[in-house]
């Protein structure tokens, strides 16, 4: 489903460039639940952004369901972002002046789904999240866990093929983290691919597969229980 071949990416710096991804080869199949781990600066968030077409890459190839994603125009990339992935961010990224239901339904607005249909689907999705009584609440009136549930509902509302979650539990306490991971696990159970960037070993342990990055290179890729614990310099930090 997702196939990266020799992906390389560097950020321009004053007087040179900073290589972040150095020839990433990776294939993720439909229905997998994958954790991407690594120390700070290892390139794990950049990898997620490349997968979600939020960021480009300098060289290599990226196929999505057999379609080449390199050289997409801004408009084509926007269309793919609208249809293919759902994003979940560490700091939720809800629009402050929109109510929970409106935030959740925003991706459908960009798919030109009629308003009534949007509202109906938003309420259904919030109901599945146990959040249907929070549809009319502003983000400022929600707890961290509730905000993340709204964010997950927003990611799911377009019925995406893959959920890309960047530190989805990073801003939550352990109990709420557990709830959020249960939700993501349920989502994966329905056949949707879930890719989570995390630095927490117990979060990665809840996934089927763990990929460890170091200095822009995949150093381990295997079943979650088989991948070794992160080293001290990789723990407790993000990209």
């Amino acid at each position: 489903m997702l196939n990266l071949r020799g992906i390389e990416k560097a950020y321009p710096l004053a007087g040179g460039t900073l290589p972040v991804l150095k020839g990433i080869d990776l294939t993720i199949q439909q229905g997998e639940m994958v954790a991407i781990m690594g120390s700070s600066g290892s390139g794990k968030s950049t990898l997620l952004n490349v997968l979600g077409l939020l960021d480009g890459f300098d060289s290599g190839g990226y196929d999505l369901d057999g379609v080449d994603m390199s050289g997409l125009s801004e408009k084509q990339a926007a269309r793919y972002r609208s249809q293919f992935p759902g994003f979940v961010f560490q700091s939720f990224k809800l629009i402050a002046f929109k109510k929970g239901g409106e935030n959740e339904a925003l991706p459908l607005f960009y798919q030109k789904v009629p308003r009534r249909e949007r509202q109906k689907r938003a309420m259904e999705m919030l109901g599945k999240m146990g959040m249907d009584d929070r549809a009319d609440h502003l983000p400022s009136e929600l707890s961290g866990g509730q905000k993340q549930r709204v964010a997950i509902a927003r990611a799911l509302i377009t019925e995406p093929r893959v959920i890309l979650a960047d530190e989805p539990t990073g801003a939550l306490d352990s109990s709420t983290s557990h709830e959020v991971m249960s939700v993501l696990r349920e989502v994966n159970g329905s056949g949707i691919t879930v890719i989570i960037v995390t630095h927490e070993a117990d979060i990665a342990a809840k996934c089927d597969r763990t990929i460890r990055l170091h200095d822009g290179v995949i150093i381990e890729d295997g079943r979650s229980g088989e991948v070794v614990e992160p080293t001290a310099n990789g723990a407790g930090s993000t990209d």
Binding site: D55, A78, T158
Partner: protein, 407 residues
């Protein structure tokens, strides 16, 4: 682009920070308001002067005299120069050619009586051409004839105020009134704007001279310049002025003793002044609009900067650059259009409310040129669109991930 969803999005964003929206709108609305009011004042001034000119034909020359202020050719100052019949005859027969001329001899505060009704009105002796020279609109009966002048007839033509006050709306034609103790027959009446127009009682010049003046003085004189252009009328003024000064031994620099005023030249002068005022209003208005547009641009730049993360989120959720661009530009246009329209309405309302209290001889009907103001509003909307476009273009050029990371 202009669907209901876009408007809801815009309503969300403009109401998300009501104080900022209100202050931005105020700067734009105030700009249009100031432009409208200034235009109104300019037009009011222009209307006032034009109305004043409308009381008399533009192609006329008015000759007035006074007391000399300078000694000349052995004559001391403080000598009163009096125009007489022979001056009029000489000017019109030997100095200039004119299609119409009239003397104009006034007596202010003359008692007029009709039956038991009494009033005080200005009385003026004129010649038949005066109706054409002073644009007197006859409402009924007839104007003074040459025959009335030759026979020194005791006939008169009265203004609307005299009819209202003495005749109480009855027709005055054929009725007799007593002017300064002498009975006159009313042969015509008129309605005229202006300060004194409607209160005037006109009688033949010769009757005035014989009954009330006792000599052939004509007070002042008014002549038509016909179809001469400004250059031709100026030459006519110079000829009349030179002849009268020569004949009455008036110093060439004496401004008070002989005064020859060219209406056409004065009108041209006022026209130049009002062109200047209009230009001034546009310059001030232009700067006011520019200030409003800069205000909108400034606010839009701040708004876009503040919403960078939101723009990143929207892009991550599938928004295209075009949808982000249109959202910001339409928001800027709406802000300028609505606040500009409110400023326009407030300006028009202020002028309408103030107009009845601001009537003056040289200031009337401070109207708004709607076409010009709407054009200004459209210019402002265009400025709003451009001022929204610049930060919007900057915003959509940011990659989604950069916008998401922006804090």
């Amino acid at each position: 682009m202009f669907n209901r969803e876009t408007w809801i999005e815009i309503a969300h964003t403009v109401t998300a920070n009501p104080l900022r929206t209100a202050l931005t709108g105020l700067s734009v609305g105030l700009g249009i308001f100031i432009l409208v009011v200034m235009q109104g004042l300019g037009f009011g001034l222009q209307n006032g002067v034009e109305q004043d000119f409308a009381d008399e034909a533009k192609n006329t020359i008015w000759v007035r005299t006074g007391t000399t202020t300078l000694a000349y050719r052995g004559r001391q100052p403080n000598r009163y120069i009096e125009l007489r019949d022979e001056d009029e005859e000489r000017v019109t027969e030997q100095v200039v050619e004119t299609p119409a001329v009239s003397g104009r001899l006034s007596m202010w505060g003359s008692t007029v009586q009709y039956k038991n009704e009494l009033g005080n009105y200005p009385l003026m002796g004129v010649e038949p051409d005066f109706a054409e020279l002073d644009l007197i609109p006859l409402e009924g009966g007839r104007w003074l004839h040459q025959d009335d002048v030759e026979k020194e007839s005791k006939v008169c033509v009265i203004g609307e105020n005299v009819i209202n006050e003495l005749f109480k709306q009855r027709s005055p034609i054929g009725e007799y009134i007593i002017l300064r103790g002498i009975t006159f027959r009313v042969v015509g009446h008129f309605a005229k704007n202006g300060r004194w127009g409607n209160s005037m009682v006109y009688i033949p010049m010769t009757t005035m001279q014989r009954l009330f003046q006792g000599n052939d003085a004509i007070g002042s004189m008014v002549l038509s310049t016909g179809d001469r252009d400004l250059e031709g009328s100026t030459a006519m003024v110079d000829a009349i002025d030179g002849d009268l000064r020569l004949r009455h031994a008036v110093h060439p620099e004496d401004q008070r003793a002989v005064r020859v005023r060219d209406n056409q030249e004065e009108y041209a002068m006022f026209d130049r002044i009002f062109k200047g005022i209009r230009l001034f209003i546009w310059v001030i208005g232009g700067f006011t609009l520019l200030a409003g547009a800069i205000g909108v641009a400034n606010i839009m730049a701040i708004v876009v900067k503040e919403r960078t993360v939101e723009i990143g989120v929207r892009k991550a959720l599938g928004a295209t650059s075009g949808s982000i661009l249109s959202l910001i530009v339409i928001e800027a246009v709406c802000l300028t259009l609505i606040s500009g329209a409110l400023g326009l309405i407030a300006g028009v309302a202020t002028l309408n409310y103030a107009a009845p209290y601001a009537q003056h001889d040289y200031f009337t009907n401070p109207e708004v040129n709607l076409r010009v103001t709407v054009t200004a509003l459209l210019v402002l909307v265009l400025a709003g669109a451009l001022s929204g476009l610049v930060p919007a273009l900057r915003a959509v050029r940011i990659r989604p991930i950069e916008a998401l990371r922006y804090e």
